[in-house]
């Protein structure tokens, strides 16, 4: 089975739907699972005890875990000087610390299998150093750095760790961002267009493919940088 965090909305939801479409058994992790039409476990990735409980629940299922996809995340498009303290804390705690908690607490399941794949989410804002996204980009730069090192720690156990770094994909995270602002960002990509959730889902499928077993510790920037 495949576990997806942030499965109730945005990219996590799109990835969950795509994986179910292709016949995978998916367990979605979300803070609020009411109304979700999938197998789901209530989990707040920013809370260690909550992630630990979810990992215990999955472990008790005694089923092989093919992949863990860390799609839960929050965004805030602000300059550092206009980002308040609680937003800074929330960005780091959810995006970076949440990813670390999920990786460290679900890794033992994959270590035992000597097989598996973690897919973490960064942003193209890291590579492009996008103005107005300093704290968000910092949280995601942490995810990239963690993922590259974690990949080395997992490699002996045949567990791969990679990051996908999307550009401005239309999800709730981009609420309030104008088309002109999106155009400014996409113009800095190698392929200068706005990609969609389906393109990110394609990359997830690519990383899960048996032919991708040589890929680990990599950051795939959607659109290229």
């Amino acid at each position: 089975m495949i576990i997806v965090t942030g499965a109730s909305r945005g990219l996590g939801q799109a990835i969950t739907e795509r994986l179910i479409e292709r016949g995978e058994e998916v367990i979605g992790l979300a803070r609020n699972t009411s109304g979700l039409n999938i197998n789901a476990i209530e989990c707040d990735v920013s809370d260690y005890a909550s992630v630990k409980n979810a990992s215990k629940e999955v472990k008790r299922m005694k089923k092989p875990v093919k992949a863990f996809i860390n799609a839960a995340g929050v965004a805030s498009m602000n300059m550092a000087v206009t980002t308040n303290e609680s937003t800074v804390q929330k960005l780091i705690q959810t995006n970076l610390v949440g990813t670390i908690y999920c990786c460290q607490l679900f890794a033992p399941i994959m270590l035992r299998q000597k097989q598996g794949s973690f897919i973490n989410f960064s942003t193209i804002a890291v590579a492009l150093a996008l103005k107005g996204e300093s704290v968000y980009a910092a949280s995601k730069a942490g995810v990239e750095s963690f993922s590259r090192t974690f990949a080395r720690e997992m490699a002996d156990f045949n567990v791969r760790v990679n990051c996908i770094a999307p550009g401005p994909i239309r999800t709730d995270l981009l609420r309030g961002i104008t088309d002109a602002q999106i155009g400014k960002i996409t113009s800095q990509q190698v392929i200068q267009k706005q990609f969609q959730k389906s393109d990110v889902c394609d990359l997830v499928e690519l990383l899960l493919d048996e032919k991708a077993t040589s890929l680990s510790g990599q950051v795939l920037n959607v659109g290229g940088v």
Binding site: K52, K56, Q104, L105, P108, L111, R112, E153, D156, F157
Partner: protein
């Protein structure tokens, strides 16, 4: 489970990981420069202890705060690991 039973189980798990190539003593370090176990073997020991705990009807949590804390880490010695294994069997 008493401490002697726990020691026997822990030493057996370490012995398997080391393929019987070293004598295991109670004060042998499991982490740090003097450890005979590399990180991969230490993980294998933990996974083996998870299975053995399961056989004895309890869950062994090696990702607990006690495992991670350097000063009182259960990996500081074979004896400390056995003690933690015995403690968790009583919860």
């Amino acid at each position: 489970m008493n401490i002697e039973q726990a020691k026997e189980i822990v030493i057996s798990a370490i012995n398997t990981a080391l393929e019987g190539k070293a004598e295991i003593t109670e004060d042998m370090q499991l982490i740090g420069g003097e450890s005979l176990l590399d990180s991969m073997r230490l993980v294998e020991v933990c996974l083996a202890l998870e299975d053995l705990a399961d056989e004895h009807g309890f869950e062994f949590d090696w990702t607990s705060e006690a495992a991670m804390s350097k000063s009182r880490s259960m990996f500081r010695s074979v004896g400390a690991l056995a003690e933690e294994f015995a403690n968790q069997s009583e919860v």
